[in-house]
Amino acid sequence: MRYLTYEPLSPEEWHREVMDEHSGASVEFLGVVRRLENGVPIEYLEYEAYVPMAEALLERLIQQAREQFGLSRVYFRHRLGAIRVGEIAVIIGVHAPHRAEAFAGCQFLLEALKRDIPIWKVSAR
């Protein structure tokens, strides 16, 4: 698995990525498990995925985002399994020449995740 993992996520690996000299903008999104799920306090949220399809779709979407927004670097990780409140479920980081493409590229990947990538919140406890 390249983009999905059952291990805890940390943005440190992404933060160590050196920026290309022609990139002036870096945008990072972190999605974190919140205390309230549908108004009910929880400790964990559990995610599952259709792994081979999610990986293949992500591979293609990331390539599309690189070309469409001129991104020099993309980092995408989604955690699966039980994730505790306050822990990171997803990291999306991009480098681009200018701010507009960086925001657009990061949001393009996030909206694609929310719409198309076969990952589900399957239970909260």
């Binding site: 259709y50 081979p52 399809m53 995740l113 076969p118 990952i119 399957v122």
Partner: protein, 81 residues
């Protein structure tokens, strides 16, 4: 022919398993597969309007023709992130 059916998330209890083989006539389409499943699992009807189908890891239209050994997945609305 036989295809391999995968279901996820809240569809699992309805079909009673994560994965199962399904026998279909040669040349059957995605739509025909769904019709077969609805007959066998009427509880699916509530969910089907929001379910998308993937064939071999690609979203597929209802008139997509299936082939022996295809991996067909019922994809309920996703909720990652």
């Amino acid at each position: 022919m036989t295809i391999s059916l995968l279901v996820f998330a809240h569809l699992k209890p309805i079909l009673g398993a994560e994965s199962r083989p399904v026998s279909l006539p040669e040349g059957a389409t995605v739509r025909q597969l769904l019709d077969c499943l609805l007959t066998e699992f009427p509880a699916l009807s509530e969910w089907l309007p929001s379910v998308r189908v993937a064939v071999n890891c690609e979203y597929a239209a209802p008139d997509t023709v299936l082939h022996e050994g295809d991996e067909v997945a019922l994809i309920p609305p996703v909720s990652g992130g």
